[in-house]
Symmetry: C2
């Protein structure tokens, strides 16, 4: 009943009170805040304790009092994996005694008895001390005894800085209170938070729509993708494709002879999720591609789509993973009255526990064994949350480098929950946000609310499934604007090929591509006039060169007096890298605005001057005073990215 | 690993993720909200489950889908005590099957196999059903079988409303998920949230400063206190007062012969916390007072001050509860270099656990045995939080009617934590809030932030310890304004005698009363000219007659275009009782303002008319249109309280 005398409250970060791990990237400091207080007026201390999941013992670092009972501590995240952390707090009787005794001494009061009390506190510490603390305390006690034997008072010895430091290290931790249970942070590699994805269909890489592309064809494309500045190369499923109810071109129900089918209809007599579609190549070819990609600074990402064609080998091997109808037929996917007869879904409960769960985990481990550690997971919101939480953890314990992108376009709370249960990155609503207010609202939610601790959006400008209306109607300036928005607002961004040549031909009235590569092989002309490859190359370069773009949550919107112009800053914690981004959201018309240069962020007055570099033009200029004017013409370039030449600041300058 | 398929998140109310019980009053509905969702597209259901701590089984009521994955359920709080509550959620396979099958039927598809599936779901339900559900399901199955025997399809039977209702009651709860651990609400009697306190010193009730007052003298004052409309009569400690280092008048260090001493120096040869100061009377006299108070609609509240004079019997009986210095003397209270030699404090750990804790709990139970169930606890922030949490729970399990007021004037987080660990009511910063912005900020924090679930402020306008500067300088209009602010902003409010006659004579430069009753016996003339007894009587009457004042958190500030005029509404959940309060905060000058009548709260247009009653003048009038004008002259009356004649509204009108 007398436990936990000190209150430890409002610990930050913590998601759902510690139910889920927060996410962080390796190589950054980890800051933990908490309210810590106690009854009475004694001096208290707090410490931050942590350990990597592979360690038995705990590290410890003192927390510092901030203000209003709030304390802060930090340590460096040096390794990927799960880190546990918690907070300790205790009463420091020696420091309390010392402070009181010094006041009495100042007031000229007799402190003889107080010195005796102080000696007792030191003796109590010695009784429980070990190692060097024990030796140093033994020395201190001996010195005190010598002074007393000489009939002097050990005032300096007991009240000096040395005794205080020693007692802080070795003193008894009275009423030691521990925040329990410990909290957790999932520490991931930098690509978890900062990456640029390029999506292509390997089978479309032959350059001839009549010829099925191969992994070797993809190898030939690597210099192109790398030149654009991407670091992840992502393929839709590469597994054998079913024949039964195969879909034809433009999603028609009947495939014609020669139609390749949707790669999402996974599984045929040639194998399932652990096989490669034979026309793409062999495992050896795949390994060569993975290695070649790496040589080009690219990582291969695969699709993890847990669904089967009616020809998938699992159906015979594991009928218990599927739903069967009373007439003996297998249950196809359906959304009544619509039927999706080319797809059958596993269920995850009843006889599928645990064999299916193990199989799926082992599939991921299998592809990791083949050199793939990034997975884009198809429609995770239609599979059980406990499965993802279990599976991702199972994989990351073995491979903390594994990255899982949640391709969930669904209701907001489910999207956030998928991030909580462990998905490294998340698709987002970015693809459908178009107005200034929408960007401010959505990015404020993503960067300032609790979800920021777990959710790392990957802003895709398009996907094979989404040919958004603004791209269909906005033309080249809209492609440029979307590029800049995605690549500078989010740490992770991605595009599906065709975006660079402003491809937007749609199934009329829909957000679907006409002649979708999902149902046919295509050949692309990436040199087509009007392409925005220069812009992509520049923006990806600027991202790599400026660390501010690695900090998703360090985003601030500023005033630009025109609702068509979005204006924001990205910055590093120490403000040393400070970028301004301006985007004209209207692809049809030039817009101009007055805007404020955020001099106040650097403690500068409104009349100050600051230097800047236009990172697209690679041109330096000066900005005198706070308010300036800008014009963005979509026919020229609908965006600008500037780096401010940040003045030297003292470390205490408020950010 | 496969547990908890449904997500149950963001449960409201819950304090610190359920670590502490939320507080509620008996006789009100209890509403619980949560985000509930699941993978996939099946129909889900949620239920709110609860039980009183004295019950073994759980009650259950369905939750209703609100919006954006948010669900709500409610039940009535019919009994005081601790109530546990939690949320259940599950997939409803029958409802999902039914919805899909109806769509297929509408689309003219063959549903023969679907009907077989539906029959299987019903059969599964029957297999686990009990009681009347079992009987009704048996009947349903028999009817279905009869239809099939007649070679017809049981379409209507399976898809009808009756089957749906029956299956909702008896259906298998697939993937049943339970929010764990359960949350708790402490349900308290109405006086916990709605009370008006009057504080007096029994020893000052003889009418003669030379004569020590008695409990019988207090009995003679009861009609007066009741006439003012109070319901709690609170006394500072009534125990024997120590002689050693007794304080004299005006807190002087030397008591003169005849000085009565501070009642907070508890304990003498005549007894300690379980004894009555002999000059006040006997236990028999005290019982008579408690009964007489009750007959006047008043409850007696006592002070619970855990501190001792150097003469307290505990010091000899339980030396292990006290700190002793190496020279064999007892440790007095001190705040170096200041010494408080009239007070010694128990410590709560080491050898004081558990005997002191039991003793203190038993003391509270002792006074409950003598008819007192309301305790004002002195300086709880200087005693350990775990002690309060344990002690209050120990008492309230036996006596859920017990009320504990936390007299903590300290840092905000400690004040909130004391409310979390169980204090029924809390002293607040109200006493030092004076400007319009301060009131808006502080009341917004108290009524809108998480602390509103646990913290019930008791707004004291003054106390024997606090003679606030604004009362010293503001004169009668300030007393009137503070009365109205305290009594209408908070559910609980209180005053210490003298306030009604605008007593504010202070120790120069301090917020302390001159001739403080803490150190001397006084006689009061409550008929003194300029008294505000009429105002107190009216305001307490208006509070009792208008249920809106029982809802602390139902407070809304509105626009009054004058920074000296605070304007707000209090209202019941259904808006049927809707009050407007206007207070001129400047005691020296009349102020006037335009203000908005909140027609929009009732869905009325800006041009609408609404009736109102001035509750002080008991006068009806009409308000035409939204903007009106008001003048408040402190020389006449610096406040107004109106009740709006709320138009009849449909239950769905948004509040």
């Amino acid at each position: 009943m007398a436990q936990s005398r000190l209150a430890i409250e409002a610990v930050y970060p913590a998601v759902d009170g510690g139910r889920f791990a927060v996410k962080r990237s390796v190589g950054h400091p980890f800051e933990v805040w908490a309210d810590v207080f106690c009854d009475g007026h004694d001096v208290i201390r707090a410490a931050l304790a942590w350990r990597h999941e592979t360690e038995r013992g705990w590290h410890e670092t003192p927390m510092r009092f901030h203000d209003n009972d709030r304390w802060v501590g930090r340590f460096e995240l040096t390794e990927t994996g799960r880190v546990e952390y918690t907070i300790l707090a205790w009463r420091d009787l020696f420091a309390s005694w010392r402070a009181d005794t010094l006041k009495k001494l100042d007031a000229g009061q007799n402190i003889e008895v107080d010195l005796q009390i102080g000696r007792q506190i030191v003796a109590d510490a010695l009784a429980q001390a070990k190692g060097s603390n024990q030796r140093r305390l033994t020395d201190l006690v001996a010195e005190i005894n010598a002074v007393i034997a000489a009939e002097r008072a050990p005032v300096d010895l007991l009240l000096g800085d040395e005794a205080l430091a020693l007692m802080q290290a070795a003193g008894v931790r009275s009423n030691l209170t521990r925040h329990a249970p410990p909290l957790a942070a999932q520490v991931e590699r930098e690509a978890a938070a900062f990456s640029a994805w390029y999506e292509l269909m390997p089978r479309s890489q032959s350059g001839d729509p009549e010829v099925h592309g191969t992994f070797d064809d993809v190898i030939a494309r690597l210099p192109y993708v790398r030149d654009l500045g991407f670091d992840v190369l992502y393929f839709p499923p590469i597994h054998p494709i079913g024949q039964t109810h195969r879909k034809g071109r433009n999603n028609s129900l009947e495939a014609l002879p020669g139609d390749p089918g949707s790669p999402y209809a996974i599984g045929s007599e040639e194998g399932g999720h652990d096989a490669i579609h034979p026309e793409l190549g062999s495992f050896e070819d795949f390994h060569r591609l993975v290695r070649a990609a790496r040589d080009h600074g690219l990582e291969v990402a695969l699709d993890f789509a847990i669904q089967c064609s009616p020809d998938h080998p699992w159906i015979k091997q594991h009928p218990e993973w599927f739903d069967w109808r009373p007439d003996g037929t297998i249950q196809y996917a359906e959304n009544p009255p619509k039927k999706y007869e080319d797809i059958v879904n596993v269920h995850f409960y009843r006889d599928a526990v645990p064999t299916l769960w193990y199989e799926l985990r082992d599939l991921v481990l299998f592809w990791i064994g083949h050199g793939v550690t990034i997975f884009r997971v198809d429609n995770p919101h239609t599979k059980p949350l406990p499965f993802w939480e279990w599976m991702i953890r199972e994989v990351q314990v073995r491979h903390p480098e594994a990255v899982f992108l949640s391709e969930a376009f669904t209701k907001p709370k489910m999207m956030k929950r998928l991030a909580k249960v462990g998905f490294t990155q998340s698709y987002s609503y970015f693809t459908w946000r178009t107005t200034k207010q929408e960007f401010v609202d959505y990015l404020t939610e993503l960067t300032q609310e609790e979800c920021r601790e777990v959710m790392r959006p990957n802003f895709f400008v398009n996907t094979p499934d989404i040919n958004p209306r603004h791209l269909q109607t906005g033309g080249r300036p809209m492609f440029q604007a979307r590029l800049v928005l995605a690549a500078t607002l989010a740490g992770n961004w991605g595009m599906y090929n065709g975006f660079e040549i402003c491809e937007a031909q749609a199934v009329p009235g829909k957000e679907e591509y006409l002649h979708s590569e999902k149902y046919e092989i295509r050949a692309w002309d990436f040199d087509a006039p009007g392409n925005i490859r220069w812009d992509i190359r520049q923006v990806n370069r600027i991202r790599r060169e400026n660390p501010a773009f690695r900090h998703f949550t360090n985003l601030r919107f500023y005033n630009a007096w025109n609702d068509n112009i979005l204006y924001y800053a990205k910055f590093t914690d120490d403000l040393s890298n400070f970028l301004l981004v301006f985007v004209n959201l209207d692809p049809h018309q030039a817009h101009e605005c007055h805007f404020e240069v955020p001099l106040w962020e650097f403690g500068l007055p409104d009349q100050a001057s600051i230097g800047a570099t236009d990172l697209l033009e690679d041109q330096d200029f000066g900005l005198d005073g706070k308010v300036h004017h800008l014009r963005l013409d979509p026919q020229h370039r609908p965006y600008a990215i500037w780096r401010l030449h940040v003045p030297a600041m003292s470390p205490d300058t408020p950010a």
